[in-house]
């Protein structure tokens, strides 16, 4: 069974790995960002989401902004030491670490995302797909989320709407273009997790996402 949701928002930034510091977004939502939106509605270790298709509903528009971000991370060693001793300094003051960085972000985005899920080996004898299917639909219809779904960056909140079968659909944009090698997702079975890429192509506003196991996904 496949599910369909429409997500939209005023801004979005699906940061390209090569331009992660002075951010530049991908042209469209990446499969991993789409997966995260589904996971915001329902996720358990017993299930795994797979994105099948992304339809781009709004024309691709860009905007350049400057924002304050930070340059440092909290030191893991300090955290470990504090855990051992039961006391220590774990804070980070953004005022001291502040950096002005520019971003080339997307404006007024809207996507229709088709996905399905499968059960993982963590699923026990009491788990079945029927159960999670029901849970997802109940939650999505009520607008319940575990965390605020977002469009690439946490500060760009997404509005989501479940599209029921038989619902009248707006058409995707009439644009065909090669999107180049795009981030697919991390392979979390590797240590450390390794990035995977796929050659994305938009045909009439529709991007078909290959399965994670297929040869089209490199990495």
């Amino acid at each position: 069974m496949t599910f369909c949701i429409e997500v939209s928002g005023e801004f979005a930034c699906f940061t390209r790995p090569e331009m992660r510091v002075e951010r530049v977004s991908y042209d469209v939502i990446t499969p991993s960002a789409a997966r995260n939106i589904y996971q915001a509605i329902l996720w358990k270790p017993q299930m795994a989401w797979h994105i099948d298709r992304i339809e781009v509903l709004n024309p691709i528009r860009w905007m350049s902004i400057r924002r304050n971000e930070v340059g440092s991370v909290v030191s893991a060693e300090n955290v470990r030491r504090a855990m051992r001793r039961g006391q220590g300094r774990l804070q980070m003051f953004v005022e001291d670490e502040r950096q002005q960085r520019s971003s080339l972000v997307l404006r007024d985005v809207s996507y229709r995302i088709h996905a399905h899920f499968s059960l993982t080996e963590k699923a026990g004898s009491t788990d079945n797909a029927e159960k999670y299917l029901g849970m997802f639909l109940r939650r999505a219809r009520k607008g319940q989320v575990f965390k605020q779904p977002y469009l690439g960056c946490r500060e760009f909140a997404a509005d989501i709407e479940l599209i029921e079968p038989g619902h009248e659909l707006s058409s995707s944009i009439d644009e065909t273009r090669d999107l180049g090698w795009m981030f697919y997702d991390f392979d979390y079975s590797a240590n450390p997790p390794s990035p995977r890429f796929f050659n994305a192509r938009m045909e009439g506003g529709v991007i078909n996402i290959p399965m994670a196991e297929s040869d089209e996904v490199q990495g």
Binding site: R16, P17, E18, M19, R20, V21, E22, V24, D27, W62, S64, E69, V70, G71, S72, V73, E97, Q100, R101, S102, L104, D178, L179, G180, W181, F183, F186, P192, P193, S194, P195, R196, F197, N199, Q218, G219
Partner: protein, 570 residues
């Protein structure tokens, strides 16, 4: 897609780029030695062009990334490294630099020529060199040096055996990490540090990077440097070489506005590419209008192919980093179409006289004293984007123009009027109000309040001018333009009182009748004068004023007054 497009440009073969592992460097002096490694002479490669001396460019092994540490280039470098000259009074460091330069040669000593250089450096005797006529210049400038063998016409770093060895060394990867390259998709060993991008105005002179991870917050999963964005050696080389080529100053590929640099390139649309710059940069040659010429060339050419894309990349410096502020890929025919719409929207009465305006000239009319240093970078990017895409112009542009007109006491120049007209026409097109588009010259059918009020204001000003033949220090326009375009009701009451006074002063009774009729006609169109005008109506006011003013000049057969002040083109 930015890196991909740059790599594609590198591989397209339309420009002869340096091959993988090499780069083009201007080297002013060559040290000539013989086969035994003995010093012969110093060769000056420079040629005098005008007043400057230009060094010859050679293909040399690619530069290493210079940091505060010591790293030497292969067979070429500055005098500090090549000859161990001490410039910073730090003999210890200089010695290390000199030995680093020699150590780099060692793996290539199989080559006879490299062997000769190695011998020369091992027994380096600066006394012989000091007698040479070019010595002082080398010491003064710490310039780049390379080696050449007596009687050969190539540099040591261009000899056949060396090249084979060098190419082999490039393919050796000691690392065992394999990741997919995000430019090509090939599984490869990613580069840790990307080659530097030089000559971006405003960035560090030693070079800056688009792809760099120099602080812990930029990395993920404890990956090091370039492993965060896996890129193959070749791809990193190709895109940086292409970028460095595009950034060469004074070429046809780059324009600079404020601290933003815009690069553009295309693989097939050559003639469009060669004139594209003229649409943006003001020409210094006043004889001909470069924009008009460029327009004709661009539209006559048919050399673009459907698969090709015209790329526009906007870069902004941020010390060691480079940020992208604009990225646009468009089919050349689409771009031409958008450009023709752009110039059509800007077309204004006076076009024959002033010609089409470059973007720089247009934007300068929004600046204090027409100086580009007061130009907002953000506005530039937005207007440029609108020009390329054929989309609406930013609201901030209209605000900037209106503010400038008010601050300059109602000086609605040709360029300002053009910009406002373009703003309104693009807005109306976007909103589907095509029937309300503004025309290039006076449109007597246009009954929009702002437009008619602007015309009326112009009539009052004309009346004042005719009543007072002598030059006035303050005119109606300089005194009331701002008020009349924002709060017309209060200002026009005053103007009505004034105009009776001016009518009395007119010598020619025929003109009195003319003016009365004109004012009466216009008043009839408006009805009640509104108390306040919206920003859109303020635009129409300025355009109506400009149109009416131009109509007066042409109908009276007086010389058309050049209301474009000379200082606009300082």
């Amino acid at each position: 897609m930015i890196l991909q497009s740059l790599c594609q440009f590198y591989r397209s073969g339309c420009i002869e780029f340096a091959p993988f592992g090499f780069e083009e460097k201007p080297v002013p002096f060559l040290i000539v030695i013989n086969d035994a490694g003995e010093f012969v002479s110093i060769e000056d490669t420079r040629q005098t062009v005008g007043k400057r001396k230009i060094s010859q460019t050679f293909q040399v092994p690619q530069a290493v990334k210079k940091t505060s540490g010591i790293s030497a280039n292969l067979l070429w470098d500055v005098a500090e490294y090549v000859l161990g000259l001490d410039f910073k009074e730090n003999p210890e460091k200089t010695h290390k630099q000199f030995s680093a330069f020699r150590t780099r040669l060692e793996p290539f000593c199989e080559d006879d020529e490299v062997q000769a250089v190695h011998c020369f450096l091992a027994g380096l005797n600066l006394l012989c060199l000091q007698k040479n006529e070019h010595w002082q210049e080398i010491v003064d400038t710490n310039c780049l040096l390379s080696f050449k063998l007596e009687g050969r016409d190539h540099l040591v770093c261009q000899s056949g055996t060396f090249l084979d060895l060098y190419r082999q060394s490039l393919e050796n990867h000691s690392e065992s990490t394999f990741l997919p390259c995000l430019v090509t998709g090939d599984i490869t060993t990613p580069v840790l540090l990307h080659p530097a991008i030089k000559k971006l105005p405003g960035a560090q002179s030693s070079g800056a990077n688009i792809v760099s991870f120099n602080l812990p917050a930029f990395t993920s999963w404890s990956k090091k440097q370039g492993h965060n964005a896996p890129t193959s050696q070749h791809a990193a080389f190709e895109y940086t070489t292409a970028l460095n080529y595009l950034l060469q100053p004074d070429n046809e590929h780059s324009i600079q506005v404020g601290n933003r640099t815009f690069l553009f390139w295309s693989e097939t649309a050559k003639s469009l590419q060669s004139v594209f710059k003229s649409f943006f940069v003001e020409s210094t040659d006043s004889e001909t209008n470069a924009v008009d010429e460029a327009y004709d060339i661009a539209f006559q050419s048919q050399d673009c192919c459907a698969e090709d894309r015209f790329n526009v990349l906007g870069l902004a410096p941020n010390n060691a980093r480079i940020s992208v502020c604009l990225w646009h890929r468009i089919r050349p025919d689409e771009l031409l179409n958008n450009l023709s719409i752009w110039f059509e929207d800007l077309a204004m009465k006076g076009l024959e006289k002033f010609g089409r305006s470059s973007l720089e000239r247009l934007l300068r009319c929004t600046c204090l004293q027409f100086k580009t240093k007061y130009l907002s970078d953000k506005l530039t990017v937005n207007v440029l984007e609108s020009m390329l895409k054929g989309s609406r112009l930013p609201h901030s542009l209209m605000v900037a123009v209106l503010n400038r007109i008010r601050a300059d006491e109602g000086k609605v120049s040709y360029t300002r009027a053009s910009l406002l007209k373009a703003f309104i026409n693009r807005k109306y097109r976007h909103e589907g109000k095509n029937n309300m588009q503004l025309t290039t010259a006076l449109d007597e059918e246009n009954n929009q309040t702002g437009y008619v009020l602007g015309r009326l204001f112009s009539v009052f000003e004309r009346l004042q001018e005719e009543a007072h033949r002598s030059n006035l220090s303050t005119t109606i326009s300089s005194r009331y333009f701002g008020g009349a375009s924002i709060r017309p009701q209060s200002v026009f009451n005053t103007l009505f009182k004034l105009h009776i006074h001016h009518l009395r002063k007119l010598q020619n009774p025929g003109r009195v009748v003319n003016f009365r009729q004109m004012i009466g006609d216009l008043m009839q169109k408006i009805g009640n004068i509104p108390s306040h005008l919206s920003s859109e109506q303020q635009c129409l006011f300025a355009v109506g004023y400009y149109h009416q003013r131009q109509a007066f000049y042409s109908s009276n057969k007086e010389p058309e007054i050049d209301d474009e002040d000379d200082h606009e083109f300082e």
